[in-house]
């Protein structure tokens, strides 16, 4: 009998007070921050985004400065020139946005996550908040880094601008806001599609393929249709905020355009959340 009693000894884990262990949004946000910082892919993706953003801006600005040195007449918008990396960086942040949610499904972690935090609304809100903050902070670093390095390279050819010039600060901060919104759009698509490859493809489709298709077919459309469709293409709408050199009067104004783009992201997230609350996982 003694042996049986030893076997039935207490588990050895201290007991918690009855009031401990209340789930909350704040707790869920801390949890999601631990999740996003504790996998390597997050760090590689964020570093890649900063490198691409700063690197492409530097190449574009160095090229313009070099051409000016060689006596070519250069007509560039210096802020926009240093922010060209957005075109590629938007894809990298979209990958991270999609992975943030699809990796839960791909690894099966979602079942553990929802077995410990069954309030799905709280779970997905915390994930979205944490991703948005991480994406915005990193994008701001990338955007300001690209701007300052780019202007330093342009200053030798007297082509540089400063943040105090009209629209420049808007463009630098706006580029970061646009990148964050791209990530959120991919996050919403990830919530709908639940597979990494599918969600990333869908994000590329919305950001790039729609724009390419529009470029290909727009010339065969009546002019008024071209304008009506063109301004609604997601990348056209969202990019006005950092394309300080863009003069097309048929496009949305910078902030309205960013609002339209953010609305696309919001629709994707709203559809995703609606499905997520109902689906079996």
């Amino acid at each position: 009998m003694a042996a049986v009693i030893t076997e039935r000894a207490t588990v050895g884990l201290s007991r918690l007070p009855a009031t401990a262990g209340n789930a909350s949004l704040a707790g869920a946000v801390r949890s999601e921050f631990t999740k996003i910082r504790s996998v390597r892919s997050t760090w590689w993706t964020l570093i890649a985004m900063v490198v691409v953003m700063v690197g492409i801006g530097a190449i574009a600005c160095a090229g313009a400065a070099h051409a000016a040195h060689n006596g070519h007449a250069i007509s560039i918008d210096p802020a926009q020139q240093s922010l060209f990396g957005v075109i590629l960086a938007q894809l990298i942040i979209a990958v991270l946005g999609a992975l943030t949610i699809t990796s839960e499904f791909g690894t099966g972690m979602i079942r553990t996550s929802l077995s410990t935090l069954p309030r799905r609304g709280t779970f997905v809100a915390a994930k979205a908040i944490v991703f948005a903050v991480v994406a915005l902070v990193t994008s701001l670093v990338a955007s300001f880094g690209a701007f300052f390095l780019g202007q330093a390279l342009l200053s030798g050819a007297h082509l540089s601008t400063t943040l105090s010039q009209p629209n420049v600060l808007r463009a630098v901060i706006g580029a970061a806001l646009y990148l964050t919104a791209c990530g959120m759009l991919a996050f919403g698509l990830g919530l709908i599609i639940r597979h990494s490859a599918g969600a990333i493809s869908a994000a590329v489709g919305v950001l790039f393929v729609l724009w390419v298709l529009y470029q290909m077919i727009s010339s065969s459309l009546p002019i008024s249709w071209q304008h009506d469709i063109g301004r609604w293409i997601p990348m056209n709408a969202g990019s006005g905020i950092w394309l300080t050199g863009r003069t097309d009067p048929h496009m949305f104004s910078p902030w309205i355009g960013l609002g339209v783009f953010a609305a696309y992201a919001a629709i994707a997230i709203a559809v995703g959340v609606t499905l997520f609350r109902r689906r079996n996982v």
């Binding site: 076997e7 039935r8 000894a9 207490t10 588990v11 050895g12 884990l13 201290s14 007991r15 918690l16 009855a18 401990a20 262990g21 209340n22 789930a23 909350s24 704040a26 707790g27 869920a28 801390r30 949890s31 999601e32 631990t34 999740k35 504790s38 996998v39 390597r40 892919s41 990796s103 839960e104 690894t107 099966g108 972690m109 979602i110 079942r111 553990t112 996550s113 929802l114 077995s115 410990t116 935090l117 069954p118 309030r119 799905r120 779970f123 915390a126 109902r278 079996n280 996982v281």
Partner: protein, 315 residues
């Protein structure tokens, strides 16, 4: 207290769980038995709110799990040891779970020590063996000091040492007054562990009783007889309404008559007996008989006769 009322889950044309009603009392180990594909995992997923029931309800202490304010205090579940991000370390995996429920972060080290994973706490979980993964899953389940523990086939693929460890852990958890709900497709696994059984087949409730009741009502007593005159005895047994199965080499198994009846019958007719013993079919056999009609995928293994395993001692 887990309570299911008319719990039903349909996937397309398949009825995975069919109108299950049961309640699971605290302070006991309740075994959840059924062949593979019987609906055990689906039922557990519905308890946790991972699957929405097609109809019916399941509550934990009177409310749906999805609405509880203290999920990890209520239920610690290990449904699938692979349900984690392999790129995250054991420590960070448990940390993010503890944080979501505002549990003290000191619990993480405590739980890791309890399951013996302290040395690999900083290692990424993708390098873990099956047994280590299982231990990490149990650490996660215990983080919140939960009232109810739910394990889905916890010993699958574990070595004997691991199986013993989990068995003793479940007993200790129940002894602390917690509810332990554990599924298995092996009756033998439950024989020595569970107090109470819920048996399902093809999604339907087959039995809901104590282990002793299950044995008493489902394992048929037979009599093993060895005699140099099998034909004569077989005739007499048949005349009394018993049935005889001849195993060859002079051994026959009589069912429908008690040991004393068989012995008296032989004595009255002067039939020499070399062996007379009561045989209790194992619980495994009883379980297989009970669920035979409800097995989802019959393998049709040739030569599997369903022979009762001898558990009786000699006369």
């Amino acid at each position: 207290m887990i309570e299911a009322r008319g719990l039903t889950k349909r996937y397309g044309d398949t009825l995975a769980v069919d109108n299950l009603t049961f309640s699971i009392a605290p302070g006991k180990i309740t075994g959840f038995l059924g062949p593979n594909g019987a609906g055990k995992t689906t039922t557990m997923r519905m308890i946790l709110g991972l699957d929405q029931p097609t109809s019916g309800t399941v509550t934990i202490n009177g409310e749906a799990f999805a609405r509880t304010a203290q999920p990890m205090r209520q239920v610690g579940a290990l449904l699938d040891a692979k349900a984690l991000h392999g790129g995250r370390s054991a420590y960070n995996h448990l940390l993010c779970l503890a944080q979501s429920n505002n549990l003290p972060t000191a619990r993480v080290q405590e739980a890791l020590a309890l399951v013996g994973l302290t040395d690999v706490a900083k290692k990424r979980a993708k390098g873990f063996s099956l047994g280590m993964g299982q231990r990490l899953g149990i650490a996660a389940a215990l983080l919140g000091d939960p009232e109810i523990l739910m394990f889905d086939e916890p010993v699958n693929g574990l070595d004997p040492e691991g199986i013993l460890w989990i068995r003793n852990l479940m007993k200790a958890l129940a002894a602390e007054g917690r509810t332990v709900f554990v599924s298995s497709h092996l009756m033998s696994e439950m024989e020595n562990t569970a107090d109470h059984l819920i048996v399902i087949g093809k999604g339907k409730l087959i039995a809901n009783c104590t282990v002793d009741e299950f044995i008493a009502s489902n394992s048929q007593l037979t009599v093993r007889v060895r005699t140099p005159h099998p034909d004569e005895l077989a005739r007499l047994v048949a005349a009394r309404g018993g049935t005889v199965k001849d195993n060859g080499d002079g051994v026959m198994v009589v069912s429908g008559l008690a040991v004393s009846q068989v012995g008296d019958l032989a004595y009255d007719n002067s039939i020499r007996l070399h062996e007379l013993a009561p045989v209790q079919a194992s619980l495994e056999q009883a379980f297989m008989d009970l669920t035979a009609s409800s097995v989802q995928f019959h393998a049709g293994v040739p030569g599997e006769t369903g022979e009762p395993v001898l558990t009786g001692s000699g006369v």
